[in-house]
């Protein structure tokens, strides 16, 4: 489309887009919170994967909080005792680096402060289903997970990057972590639903930013993963590797047998066959 505009038009369009962008990021920390924080944190709605951020400013110094938001890994691996405590509270789940600049972090803290004072709970997943999931929920979740049912907004199925002890031969993808126990890791239905609403890690967020999961899909997936956590055993990656190798070997052998059958009458030289047949005739 852009190439149909002449340079002047493109310049105007570009300027407008930049202006809009700056409006969004300049004035909407609420939006950023929703995109990047809400999957793990609430403000006053209780603990999800990460701690409730209500009145966080009273628990730690603002400087420390800014540093942590900008680069959580540095803080954690730096051996900071408070950071270590946070990690152990969230059962080992480490907050990912979210590419938030210190200026934005300041704004976010201001926003969190405002919301804490206003008193109405922010984030969390009020809609998380609390009744027991039925077998059909679990089955639908499984189909969504392995991609038999396409995700409504066109994101790729979970199985392309994750395993959850569901595919008998090859297992799921090895790119992301195994999800058999993710239900426990992320703190049950609440945590998992929140995480799936807006996945925040850089890889997940880039995949799901414009192709978010629907509420119904999230419920089904949570049902499936809850079931996995109860019944499934984590896949042993070496088994999948071995299976992969064996499948490749089998495929190669099959292909060779097929080629040999298809081209069994191919030209293989004249002289040796001539001598062999003459010898055979001579012996008879």
């Amino acid at each position: 489309m852009g190439e149909h505009f002449n340079t002047g038009h493109s310049f105007i369009v570009l300027s407008l887009a930049l202006l809009f962008q700056s409006l969004v990021y300049g004035q909407e920390p609420a939006q950023i919170f929703k995109e990047k924080c809400a999957s793990c944190h609430s403000i006053g709605a209780g603990r999800l994967v990460g701690p409730d951020l209500k009145d966080v400013a009273s628990r730690q110094k603002r400087e420390w909080l800014v540093e942590f938001i900008v680069d959580p890994k540095k803080k954690i691996s730096g051996g900071d005792p408070y950071a270590q405590k946070l990690v152990s509270e969230s059962r080992g789940v480490i907050m990912p680096s979210l590419n938030i600049e210190s200026k934005t972090a300041e704004k976010l803290l201001d926003y969190i402060g405002e919301q804490s004072r206003s008193g109405s709970p922010q984030g969390g997943v009020g809609s998380a289903v609390m009744k027991p999931f039925s077998g059909s929920d679990v089955e639908r979740g499984r189909l969504l997970f392995i991609g038999a049912i396409t995700l409504a907004n066109g994101a790729s199925a979970c199985v392309s990057c994750h395993g959850a002890a569901q595919a008998p031969l090859l297992g799921g993808g090895q790119l992301g972590p195994d999800l058999t126990r993710v239900f426990e890791r992320l703190g049950g239905r609440q945590g998992l639903s929140a995480w799936l609403t807006a996945p925040a890690t850089p890889t997940m967020s880039s995949v799901f930013k414009n192709r978010g999961l629907t509420e119904e899909e999230i419920n089904s997936l949570v049902a499936y993963l809850e079931d996995r956590a109860k019944t499934g055993r984590e896949e042993d990656p070496s088994v999948a590797t071995l299976n992969f190798f064996l499948l490749g070997l089998g495929g190669t052998v099959t292909a060779l047998v097929l080629f040999e059958t298809a081209w069994r009458k191919r030209f293989r030289g004249v002289r040796r066959a001539l001598v062999l047949s003459a010898k055979k005739n001579g012996e008879e």
């Binding site: 030209f267 030289g269 004249v270 002289r271 040796r272 001539l274 001598v275």
Partner: protein, 496 residues
Amino acid sequence: MEVRSQISMVFHLDKCIGCHTCSIACKNIWTDRKGTEYMWWTNVETKPGTGFPTCWEDQEKFQGGWKAENGKLELRSTSKRKAVTNMFHHPNMPTMDDYYEPWTYKYEDLFNAPEGTDQPTARPISMVSGEYINIEAGPNWDDDLGGSPVYAENDPNLAGLTPEQRAQLSAVERLVFFYFPRICNHCLNPACVAACPSGALHKRGEDGIVLVDQKRCRGWRACIAACPYKKVYYNWFTGKSEKCILCFPRIESGQAPACFHSCVGRIRYLGVLLYDADRLEEIAKKPTDELVEAHRSLILDPSDPQVISAARSCGIHDSVIEVAQESPIYKFVVDWKIALPPHIEYRTLPMLFYVPPLSPVMANQEGDTINHVSSDLFHDIDDSRVPMRFLANLFGAGHERHVRYALRKQKAVRWYRRALTVGDVSMETAERMLHEAGCSVEEAEAIYQLTSLCTFDDRFVIPPAHREEAIAMLEDPLEHKQAVGFGFISNPRRGA
């Protein structure tokens, strides 16, 4: 009429003694390099036999030459589609085993072996891999019917022979073979040139010699599959294909090619023919029973004033036309019609012709004398030990009349000379035979002269090279001079 000149050859098979001097002369000059050990640009085969590479005449296997179907002339081995699908593997290529794995012996073992009770031996080692090998075949493994139950009995030319005829070929007292020396035929419609995807093969405009440009060759080997005579060889060391160059450096300096020059039996003749290039495709598409005559009709009479003026306008030098008028090939092929092209059914229009060999006829014994004269003078041509059918498969596209004509004429000439010199046959009988063979006394004398008493100059009528004109065919010398001067073969380049 587009007149072109072609250096052509005749091999007189009745004179070949199978000494392989030609093969060795060629090998010593051209193919004694690494990668060419297995090549025999000229070789001598025993017929019946499977030749070199084994069964090269079996085009069902090797898919060489052209086929004329639905009015179209197409290569059997390749096409635009096959060139892509067979890009990395040509399915009908002879294997190294079909040629032979060239070998030498580990001679140093004769000197370095530790002292023991055995005689030291020099074991054969491959000249390709350097490993010890078991020698299973060579370029002349079936020479003089060596291994005939394996090789001779599988000669593709035996097709159409009755089982009795086949059995008699190897029967005691009737056992027979002749020699079949081969070089590149420098065809008028070369399949190798047509098949080359790189445009490396070309037929020289001035004399029709077919060459592989070693700079352009990319080693696709399409020529090897396409040539029905299997006379292009792949050099595994340079990764390029090579073939007989008809010793063009010798021809350009007025000498006969090495194999011609060294021929002990003086079987080889060389001269220039003029032909009509406009009719090539039409002729190559003719049905097989017309092919021999059609091929002959391509050759133009160099004494015909019309041909001479057309030749001049096509840029053929007067000196070449004069040499064409003296050509011994024209006499053998067109005047006397006793030289025939080998396997014309491959439709490459070969320009090497063979005088088919006479073979002993069945003798009948009367008391103590063995009588070779039969009552019916010509009947015994068909009663020769080499069946007519076999020769027809080789030289007549399966049709016997051309071979019979050539053999009858040769036999008549022999009887005429016998009547003249020995005198045990009456001249009356001899002249009757000549008459029946369609041969005048003068012609018989001429055939006798060129067959038996020929000198170097009679056998090899080599055209002046006129390199200056050959170069002018490719580029304008004046333009070349303006561009790069005359001091360089290729354009000068700074820093190189």
